[in-house]
């Protein structure tokens, strides 16, 4: 996935739409913050997710972070490889480290999410 072509939540998830399937992962900014991942909880195929609500969690030695759904819909696919080898999320957050695929209602868009440029502005102000 080309990061510049993706859309972003304020909580560091990225989304890419193809037809009525949205692929979701976390940005490299978020992945870099995660050291020592000990556990990942992802939904199962068939589960419903709701935009802006937690659909899973990533836990490190220090803390648990919720994963927030960028869209509402039904989970069609879960990246079990990423769940089993969390290092993938760190090494390839925009590629093999994707997390879930969600089927959304026909006609849905990602316009409510931030562009790459707006997201870069957000993380520039957050990083310290």
């Amino acid at each position: 996935m080309d990061p510049k072509a993706l859309r972003y939540t304020k909580t560091h998830e990225w989304a890419a739409m193809s037809g009525d399937i949205v692929t979701v992962g976390i940005s490299n900014f978020a992945a870099d913050q995660l050291q020592d991942i000990t556990y990942i909880k992802l939904p199962a195929a068939g589960d419903s997710v709701t935009a802006d609500r937690s659909f899973g969690e990533i836990e490190t030695v220090k803390a648990v972070s919720d994963l927030y759904a960028p869209v509402s819909g039904t989970v069609t696919e879960v990246n079990q490889q990423a769940a089993d080898t969390p290092e993938l999320i760190k090494s390839s957050p925009f590629g093999d480290g994707w997390l879930v695929r969600i089927r959304v209602a026909p006609g849905s868009t990602l316009n409510h999410l931030q562009s790459y440029d707006d997201y870069q502005k957000q993380i520039a102000s957050e990083a310290h």
């Binding site: 020592d36 556990y39 836990e59 220090k62 648990v64």
Partner: protein
Amino acid sequence: MANARTPLYDWHVGHKARMVEFGGWDMPVQYTSILDEHAAVRNSAGLFDISHMGRLSFGGPDALDLIQHVYTNNAATMKDFQARYGLICNEHGGIRDDVLVYRWPYGWAMVVNASNREKIVGWLLEKKGNRNVQIADQTLDTAMVAVQGPRAIAICAGMFEADPSQLKYYFAAPTRYKGKQCVVSRTGYTGEAGLEVMIGKSAAIELWEDLVARGGKPCGLGARDTLRLEAAMPLYGHELNESLNPLQAGLNWAVKFDKGDFIGRDALLQAQQRSDPVRIGLEVQGKRAAREGAAVLKDGQEIGKVTSGAFSPTLQRVIAMAYVPPDSASVGTQLQVDIRGDKANALVVRLPFYQRPKA
């Protein structure tokens, strides 16, 4: 007000440590990975900047009397150069701090938690009365470094005039590092063998860089927490606070009722007649950490709370400490922990979770 900084602050920042506020100080949480740093201490030698901890010295003929008055353990039976763990309690037997007392031929020293330094200094001055004792807070003029792990003593070979391999456990030696006065003690907070070194602040960076060059791996507070948790060492603010007494915390061995009166003694004698909640160790099923504040349940009812918990890198399972009523505290008791809304099974286990095998 800005946080305090140790003499090694610039070194930590320059080496890309992730910094965090702790007890009023800017401290390194990790340099690389908490799991790597934890493993270095268990398998080799890790270094910790513990300069934030309070270092107090006592002089004068009534120093022992004051220490005995505020301290639950018996300082009078300590040998010169010995270190001993104990509590400082309030009148209700609640824990104000857990401390190490050191006995010198010419005086005494006490190492206290960073977060309690001002509180304890104030307490000592308040309880001094007209005793002939001088108390000095050496914290801001000194640094303290811990070297911990199976190779800790070996990497220090030849560093000090005294030979640390000759030091007995919980003994200290005033000595010199490159001509500079320091104190080296066989103490630590990781469950591994090792040393703690107190030295003037101007020598801190040289000492630290020397230890790094000798193979010590810089480790932060993140690893310090997972290490001490595995060794079931209590942390003030979690397993210890002013509403908990040493008997509840399982620190009866550090309370010597027969040494004479001390602040809290009467309250602790009365506490012996009660069934207050006691500290337990839990092994939790699953991979999600039970953390501070998580409810501990028995038959669906909350009976206590987790005080510390994490995924243990050495044991590869989730461990936690909690306080529960004594009738739920026996090893083998099946309990549950509520982790963010989901209940995980938990088993009461013997403490410590991890103990270094005797060589």
